[in-house]
């Protein structure tokens, strides 16, 4: 590799995330070799990375269109609870579809509020975060439903939640979604328009792009992905709780940002979002195994997001100097 190759490689949006992952492996191998490299630890981390990564990819899509979705954690929780609760009446496939429909519906409603109501997505999705969380509490009455045993054995649940070839299914499915979405964003017209909308909305409009439709699609996809992540989680372990998904919106944003998505839109990387999810998950697991109290987790997420935000600014400045 000569210096020109390195230069081009370092221009990738996810360059920071790739470096971060490598660093992570190096540091943790030095600090806690035996635990870090155990199949169990890595397996857990990878599975959770798959879940968070799925949500982060959705967030990345919205961020690339220059919006933001703060409600994904609550949507994740609601979809999960809807899936488990509705299973009794609709059966496993029916409940899955219904739950995903709810997720998509919320995404659509929020998109409408942003586009027709002309309010910043920050406020709409902030309101969504609380409204949906409140809805969860109201629907469940505070108690956490779970799925009966024979439903857990349903083939769909096994396919989405069990193990395939010794690896957790969630990892497969997220990898599949990653490949699909990456192709969509970088090889289809829709993806092109998405990046154009986020990069410079007025020039996208003047080129005839229906930015309203693009953004609506981004919001719906984002909520759907959060819903899919919930299904994957519950197919594996149908235990729910009312705080399901708490804080995940911020983790998803941090993951997307670490992964190279510019909050100013138009630039990003889906694999970067997944790598970002890996970094966040890995650090969290390692901190806990090294003995940090669990109540520090909230502070930890906050600090990670702040660091990611500052990093994002430097990335943006660097990127504009390259363009």
């Amino acid at each position: 590799m000569n210096s020109r190759h390195i230069n081009i490689f370092s221009r990738r949006p996810d360059f920071g995330a790739i470096v971060g992952v490598v660093l992570l492996f190096v540091v943790f191998s030095l600090v806690d070799f035996s635990n870090w490299w155990s199949g169990r630890t890595l397996g857990n981390i990878l599975q959770f990375t798959a879940i968070l990564g799925c949500i982060a990819m959705g967030q990345a899509l919205v961020i690339m269109s220059k919006e933001i979705d703060l409600s994904v954690g609550s949507v994740y929780g609601l979809t999960g609870i809807a899936y488990v609760t509705l299973e009794a009446d609709l059966g496993v496939p029916g409940a899955m579809l219904a739950a995903l429909a709810i997720a998509g519906g919320i995404g659509f409603l929020q998109a409408m509020a942003v586009i027709k109501g002309k309010i910043p997505s920050m406020i709409v999705t902030l309101g969504g975060l609380f409204a949906v969380r409140g809805l969860i509490y109201v629907w469940t009455g505070g108690s956490a439903p779970t799925m009966p045993r024979d439903s857990r054995a349903h083939w769909l649940n096994q396919l989405l939640g069990g193990e395939l070839l010794g690896i957790d299914a969630a990892i497969f499915w997220t990898a599949l979604l990653l490949i699909l979405l990456t192709l969509v964003v970088w090889r289809t017209k829709f993806g092109n328009r998405l990046l154009a909308t986020g990069g410079d909305e007025s020039s996208a409009l003047s080129r005839g792009i229906r930015t309203d439709r693009i953004k609506t699609m981004a919001f719906v996809l984002c909520s759907l992905l959060a819903g899919i992540a919930a299904i994957l989680t519950l197919a594996d372990n149908p235990q729910t709780h009312v705080t399901l998904g708490d804080l995940m919106e911020l983790e998803a944003i941090a993951a997307a940002v670490i992964g190279g998505c510019l909050l100013s839109g138009g630039r990003g990387s889906l694999i970067g979002a997944v790598l970002g999810a890996f970094i966040i998950t890995g650090v969290r697991y390692e901190l806990i195994s090294l003995g940090a109290p669990a109540s520090w987790y909230i502070t930890f997420v906050g600090i990670v997001v702040i660091a990611a935000l500052i990093f994002n600014q430097f990335l943006a400045r660097w990127a504009s100097n390259q363009a």
Partner: protein, 327 residues
């Protein structure tokens, strides 16, 4: 003068909307739930809740006025309460209150610094700060040997009562602090150069800067004032309750933002109807109280709050667009 149209009135006095809503609401609640909601005891309780929420919202409205947003006020509120309650027994109410104010100022300074120095989104940053200090508050309450409650014999001291622990004219002192705070802020915002510049920054930071105004300083100052007000609100709440836990202030940040939006504040800055904000806080506290006295599950409030914020923002925008469509 005689030709003032309704459009003009709405344009110039943004509080009108929320005041009308408040009047409607009070009428509705009183007629449907007279003895439970509209009695003196309940109203005094609403006044106290309005006080703490109102102070939070006033601080948040100043930051919103500069075009930023501070959603960490809930955690600053909690830290303020803990700072006050953790030390009041040993150093007395006034030093404890000052300590809380300093803690609030420090958090505000941190927020303002990171936002202006790095150009980071204030919503995302203060959401993170919200988490950071929530965790700190929880960790503080988990430390062995630290107590955050005030022994009963201390609760009758004059200054302790003054800072939320007692009543004046049957209403918690916190409420009177709110009124005082409102008047002071109105004087600052509408009648001093500092206030003019704050509104200018919210209206167009670029134009303000081109006239020589140090936009960074104006924004940081707003964040600091917001932090101080949030911490003081926490002090008053702590003074009233006599004890605090790590979860104090949870959800209040969203209520504060909701109160601002309900009161007519422009989300992007430049418009801060302070009285509207306080009335907005009153409306939210009243709704919460109404739900409680009628036995509705508190979880409904969270749901309602989210819906209210979005609806209020949409209506405000629609109303503004309508009012502007005339010359």
């Amino acid at each position: 003068m005689m030709n003032i149209s309704i459009r003009q009135l709405v344009r110039q006095h943004n509080e009108i909307g929320i005041i009308l809503i408040a009047i409607l609401m009070v009428t509705l609640f009183t007629t449907t739930s007279f003895d439970k909601w509209a009695n003196a005891y309940n109203l005094a309780s609403i006044a106290q809740i309005t006080a703490t929420l109102g102070l939070l919202a006033l601080g948040a409205s100043l930051v919103m006025g500069t075009g930023e947003i501070d959603i960490s006020v809930g955690s600053t509120f909690g830290i303020g309460a803990l700072a006050y309650l953790g030390t009041v027994a040993t150093i007395g109410p006034i030093p404890a209150m000052l300590l809380a104010a300093v803690a609030g100022a420090a958090i505000g300074l941190f927020n303002g610094f990171i936002v202006t120095r790095f150009g980071v989104s204030s919503l995302l940053l203060t959401l993170s700060t919200l988490l950071v200090f929530r965790g700190v508050a929880i960790a503080l309450t988990e430390i062995e040997g630290l107590s955050f409650s005030v022994p009963y014999d201390q609760r009758s001291g004059f200054f302790y009562q003054l800072f939320g622990g007692g009543d004046i004219l049957g209403i918690n002192t916190g409420f009177w602090w709110l009124i005082l705070g409102l008047l002071l802020l109105m004087a600052f915002l509408y009648a001093t150069p500092g206030g003019n510049r704050l509104l200018a920054v919210g209206g167009s930071a670029e134009s303000a800067r081109s006239r020589g105004i140090r936009v960074t300083r104006v924004k940081v100052r707003a964040f600091v004032i917001c932090g101080v007000l949030a911490a003081l609100a926490g002090t008053l709440e702590g003074g009233k309750l006599g004890f605090a836990d790590g979860g104090m202030g949870r959800l209040m940040e969203l209520q504060a933002i909701a109160a601002c939006v309900l009161g007519g504040c422009a989300l992007l800055g430049g418009r801060v109807p302070l009285t509207g904000v306080v009335v907005g806080a009153f409306v939210l506290s009243s709704i919460q109280s109404y739900l409680v006295v009628n036995g509705v599950q508190p979880q409904w409030f969270m749901l309602l709050l989210g819906v209210i914020v979005v609806t209020a923002a949409i209506s405000d925008r629609a109303l503004r667009d309508w009012a502007l469509r005339s010359r």
